[in-house]
Symmetry: C2
Subunit: 337 residues, 2 copies
């Protein structure tokens, strides 16, 4: 027993095994060959003392944190779980720890100087809207490996992972027009400057044009990827008597608000108004009617982001842009049976 009853250190293990601490370190890390018999003695000592290396000491000595940081603007309801699942799984598989930080409001102090960075991670996963561009550039200039998710920063060659937003949007809007004959389709965009939303809007516009339909600015509203905002937006259009026969909701979350507003106004979905979303969150099939939407491979985005980041950390070349495919999932809210 130690005087202070401190947890065992590498020195205790070395003493117990009758070797130097360097040798213990070697069997711990497998960095340099150690003769079988010696290694066995060390392992035994480790077991006997229930020794666990202090992470901080390793980090300090090796200058590697073995930790990936994840920066998020907020923890959303439906989107967040699958993404984190992907990230966590990939991090675990590659042996990295995961440190999470939510940056909050764009004005927030932690935005400018997040507690995650060069000093305590080997690299950062930056989800859209979680960090000011200047801070991203500062970190990048420092040489910290960075991967962006659902956001691209023009001026730099920082790897970005995102999904086929435009393509998915195009196809689902095209479906609404070609299959269901809709002509006045509302697009409920996400938060301002949100990249996913911009690309989806582009896909929406292209689908209209491809079908010889005009893009009516009156039909493009802000849903903010948020239930309440979407509900209010649709409610207001209804009240103002805006003519529309379908709603393409920027994401599934806000589709809930759309459904609520429509129902409150006595409009039937999909007969009066078809409603489609984007993301394919887990509860999408269970809505009334079951939501036709675009499946976004969210979990895979998480996995892929970690993969690229790990490459960067290892000094390998990373993919500049990873665009994961989306897929239209036809259910009932578009009018299909």
């Amino acid at each position: 027993m130690d005087t202070h009853n401190r947890p065992p250190t590498i020195a205790d293990v070395a003493r117990q095994a009758g070797v130097s601490i360097a040798t213990v370190s070697r069997v711990l890390n497998g960095s340099t060959p150690v003769v079988g018999e010696t290694a066995e003695r060390v392992q035994e000592a480790i077991r006997a003392l229930k020794y666990v290396p202090r992470t901080a000491a390793r980090v300090l000595a090796s200058r590697r944190t073995n930790t990936i940081g994840l920066l998020l603007p907020e923890i959303s309801d439906a989107f967040f779980s699958p993404m984190l699942r992907g990230i966590e799984a990939a991090a675990r598989e590659t042996g990295f720890d995961l440190l999470i930080h939510v940056t909050g409001e764009p004005s927030s102090a932690t935005r400018a100087h997040p507690p995650l960075g060069e000093h305590n991670t080997d690299g950062l996963l930056i989800f859209t809207e979680s960090l000011e561009v200047e801070e991203i550039e500062r970190l990048h200039a420092l040489g910290l490996p960075l991967v962006l998710m659902h956001q691209s920063v023009e001026s730099h060659e920082i790897p970005t992972i995102t999904i086929e937003n435009k393509d998915g949007a195009f196809r689902i809007v095209d479906h609404l027009i070609k299959v269901h004959g809709r002509r006045r389709i509302v697009y409920l965009r996400g938060p301002e400057r949100h990249e996913d939303s911009l690309w989806r809007e582009r896909g929406y516009c292209e689908a209209l044009e491809a079908n010889g339909l005009p893009v009516d600015p009156e039909l493009i509203r802000v849903g903010a990827f948020d239930r309440q905002t979407a509900e209010a937006a649709v409610g207001e259009m209804l009240k103002r008597g805006v003519d529309f026969d379908a709603v393409f909701s920027g994401d599934d979350e806000s589709a809930l608000g759309v459904l609520t507003a429509l129902q409150a106004a006595g409009r039937h979905v999909p007969d009066d108004v078809a409603v489609v979303g984007f993301d394919d969150v887990p509860f999408a099939p269970f809505l009334a009617p079951a939501l036709t939407t675009v499946r976004a491979p969210i979990e895979q985005v998480g996995r892929e982001a970690v993969r690229q980041l790990v490459r960067l950390i290892r000094g390998e070349q990373a993919e500049a842009l990873t665009l994961l495919p989306t897929e239209v999932i036809v259910r009932n809210s578009c009018g299909c049976k």
Copy 2:
């Protein structure tokens, strides 16, 4: 410029400000008073050099990690987001970092020896089913602050945060009986040995008894808090012709499966069979019919868990058991309008 272009250290700041590194450390930590003018010079140097203290060095020197670890068995769809939101917010407010680890299968190797523990956290939040009891006891014996969520370990005075499972279950089942005259109520329990589920079952039984109804073992099935399992369980009862007029689903997630199975069999909800859940996940109001359920203050459980853990870390007394209240949320799936 440094030869190696290394990020600045405390020594660089000290040199620049013309003070000793100890003084820099003091203005950094506010541990000992520093004269205003000196402090100002140090702050300037920090700004000028864009200095950020290396976490590992601080941790090693101070023997405090300033990090809370969260251990989870998996990342569920609906339950996880609000819980993490609460945990993250509370951790941030109290200045702790958050390290997350998913332990996976009970048989998994990381179960026995998780990468989170005494060596890299000041304390651990342990969610039900994420760690073997022996490992919990080892950590506790070591003096590592621990807080359990939705799980209590008999033999030890480890603070536990959970919710009024029994009470909530009692009231919702009572509602089914008293208001809607249901008599053959199925209970779909969660994973085996899951504490929430056990308490909910107890509430279910007590509600039956309080109303003079028998507890029929045939009506208690395993839903495993899982959509597919629940669907299969109900499907099987339907096929076997088991007589029931209501289902109390152990959680909302599995209620989805119940709804699917019932719909597939042409049973109308709530007229033929009333369905109620537990948790009140965000999409509960949007199901068809809107789900009557018990609201579990999940986010608050997260906050509270961190609060208690921080107390423990600070050497203060923590609440042995925190039982957060639940509330029946009446919607339509029980038969109410």
